[in-house]
């Protein structure tokens, strides 16, 4: 009951000094706002990435060249994954079901005087089965397209819309770096990821891509692979490693110049990166909360001095030390919690705004734990920095407090 009364007293004190209270809590507002905003963006990202990767399944494996500039073994060497590697894997890695080379580039796609910024992926006929992304209209790229380096393309829905290829884009012509390609199919809708519209995609035979984009594209080539089942994914990885060590002629005990990652490993790598971003932000936020806390302590000390007489009176009419202590502690905690609540609102807007600023970023995602964490942190700051002023108030001698002018 005393607790509830104290809470009312605290709110009254805070609201009767609105401007001062707001200025005091700015540190907390910024701190909590930053937590919520960054968590919103980071969580939005990781949510999306894991959904995307869950979509391709636990059988998904990628193989890419290891460009480690710090490793003298590799410096100056031409490190790449070749089609020869791919053929050897197909031949000897029995746990592998499908394999496609991936040549990925970003750029403009032109058609009938219009242009749209998207990306190109050079693949083979297995691509849809590996990434679980299929054609919804027309056909996908075939073996013949690849062998004949045919100038054909399968495009995403956004391209169909933006390049005004409706209603029937099949047979229409699109231009990539001056090379006309014939649209043979349209991919089903996929949505957005990493700030990219996944439907601004143009898929073409990897052989055609090598011709259009030249030597550099082969150097950046990676392999996307599907294992026969999730159970043999690990085995497939080992088989691929064995094959590549042989084709790359890597002696026993020497490091590999390639990397193989399972879906799980990609997920954990991504979350590791996002985790360290979160950690850095947490440190910044910690400092901001510290500054905010000092602000609260400062204003509480002022408040105690200002209300010395009130404290004396309360003691004269029967308040115990602990009643005064609790009153001022609750005031400090309420002050920082009010800052926390405003901060959450502010962080939410920050997250939304941040997501809007990054083109095509889907949506910020604020998990409940972040709100809980931010609030309990703000509360803890209130207690930590409020205890000294509250103690000071409670130890005032009633006579001296009453006499204070």
């Amino acid at each position: 009951m005393i607790f509830f009364e104290n809470f009312k007293i605290a709110l009254k004190a805070i609201f009767s000094n609105k401007m001062r209270s707001i200025l005091t809590t700015i540190g907390i507002i910024i701190g909590v706002g930053a937590v919520v905003g960054v968590v919103a963006i980071v969580q939005g990202l990781s949510h999306m990435i894991s959904q995307e990767l869950q979509g391709v399944g636990a059988t998904y494996i990628i193989v890419f060249p290891e460009h480690d500039p710090n490793n003298p073994e590799f410096s100056g060497k031409d490190i790449r994954i070749t089609m020869e590697d791919a053929r050897e894997i197909e031949k000897y890695a029995s746990a592998v079901e499908y394999l496609t080379p991936i040549i990925w580039r970003a750029g403009y796609i032109h058609s009938q005087g219009r242009k749209w910024s998207g990306f190109y992926i050079g693949v083979n006929e297995n691509y849809p089965y590996i990434v679980n992304h299929y054609v919804e209209k027309g056909r996908f790229i075939t073996k013949e397209d690849i062998e004949g380096r045919k100038k054909v393309a399968v495009i995403g829905r956004t391209l169909v819309k933006e390049l005004k290829l409706s209603p029937d884009p099949i047979g229409k012509e699109v231009v990539v770096q001056g090379n006309p390609l014939t649209v043979v199919g349209v991919m089903e809708k996929k949505g957005q990821m990493f700030g990219n519209d996944q439907d601004s995609v143009l898929i073409l035979p990897y052989t055609t891509a090598q011709v259009i984009f030249g030597e550099i594209s082969s150097r950046q080539m990676r392999l996307d692979i599907k294992a026969k089942s999730p159970e043999v994914a690990e085995l497939a990885k080992e088989q691929i490693r064995e094959v590549l060590r042989k084709t790359h002629k890597i002696p026993e005990g020497k490091p590999e110049d390639f990397r193989i990652m399972l879906q799980e490993e990609i997920l954990s790598t991504v979350s590791k990166i996002l985790g360290s971003i979160t950690l850095v932000v947490a440190a910044v936020v910690g400092i901001s909360l510290l500054v905010g806390g000092v602000g609260i302590m400062n204003i509480m000390l002022v408040s105690v001095t200002e209300r010395t007489k009130e404290i004396g009176l309360r003691k004269a009419v029967g308040a115990r030390k602990k009643d005064i202590l609790i009153q001022f502690l609750i005031e400090a905690v309420t002050l920082s919690l009010v800052g926390g609540v405003i901060g959450i609102g502010f962080g939410f807007l920050l997250g939304m705004g941040g997501a809007k600023l990054i083109p095509n970023f889907p949506s910020a995602h604020v998990p409940l734990w972040a709100i809980g964490l931010a609030l309990s942190f703000a509360g803890a700051v209130g207690v930590f920095f409020g205890i000294y002023p509250a103690y000071k108030a409670s130890s005032l001698h009633p006579i001296e407090a009453l006499r204070y002018e």
Binding site: M1, L313, A316, G318, R320, K321, D323
Partner: protein
């Protein structure tokens, strides 16, 4: 014989400022019974405020014994003193000491909050106390909207609300004009006639006249103690 409320035996209070010692109270012996109306007078520095503070349990004596309703005060800690102040003492101050952002009724309620009285009963008792001092019509007014006399009445209601054993008034008319002072003293007279024990500190003879017993202090000693 009426019941003893206050019994002081050889009470001393020594203040230390640096190396000098000041005997604010120098062997006070005082007995106050239920229903008395006592005025304490004396020049400034005579120790009347110190005596007041000790009677009100805001301070404890350096030596000597002080019994309030038979309980030995000088041995009590903060918690017990707070309890005594809450239940046995009602303070009235020269400068009213009302909480400025709180209306009259809530000001009167304050001691009851610390007495852990439930809200509904608190409101009722606070309103009753305001009625007793004739200011229930101003229950919802803020102190800044009340005249000095009205503020002091609210303060008296606050002192009354816990039904204390003693009402302690420290220069209650010191900040008031003559008319308001008369009104306030009329309230004290009435309260005393209803059986309340009142101790008043003042330096104004006109005000002291209302009391039935007069105690004069000088240099920390009682130099006169008479009925009037």
């Amino acid at each position: 014989m009426e019941a003893e409320i206050i019994l002081m035996e050889e009470v001393h209070k020594v203040y230390r400022t640096g190396s000098t010692e000041v005997n604010a109270l120098d062997g006070i012996n005082l007995k106050v019974c239920e229903g008395e109306f006592l005025a304490i007078m004396g020049p400034s520095g005579s120790g009347k405020s110190t005596l007041m503070n000790i009677i009100g349990c805001l301070d404890v004596p350096t030596s000597g014994k002080y019994f309030l309703k038979g309980k030995e005060i000088e041995k009590m800690g903060d918690e017990e003193l707070a309890y005594i102040r809450n239940r046995e003492i009602g303070f009235v101050f020269q400068n009213f000491n009302l909480l400025s952002r709180t209306d009259a009724l809530s000001n009167v309620e304050l001691p009851l909050i610390y007495a852990k009285i439930p809200k509904k009963e608190r409101r009722e008792r606070a309103f009753e106390a305001l009625k007793k001092v004739g200011i229930e019509g101003r229950a919802k007014h803020m102190p800044s909207e009340l005249s000095g006399g009205e503020q002091q009445r609210v303060a008296i209601a606050r002192a009354l609300v816990t039904n204390p054993s003693i009402i302690l008034a420290d220069e209650p008319t010191g900040n008031l004009d003559t008319k308001s002072s008369e009104d306030i003293m009329a309230i004290f007279d009435k309260l005393n006639s209803e059986g309340n024990t009142i101790i008043l500190v003042t330096h104004e003879p006109d005000i002291a006249k209302h009391a039935k017993r007069l105690v004069r202090l000088r240099d920390g000693k009682i130099i006169e103690d008479k009925l009037q």
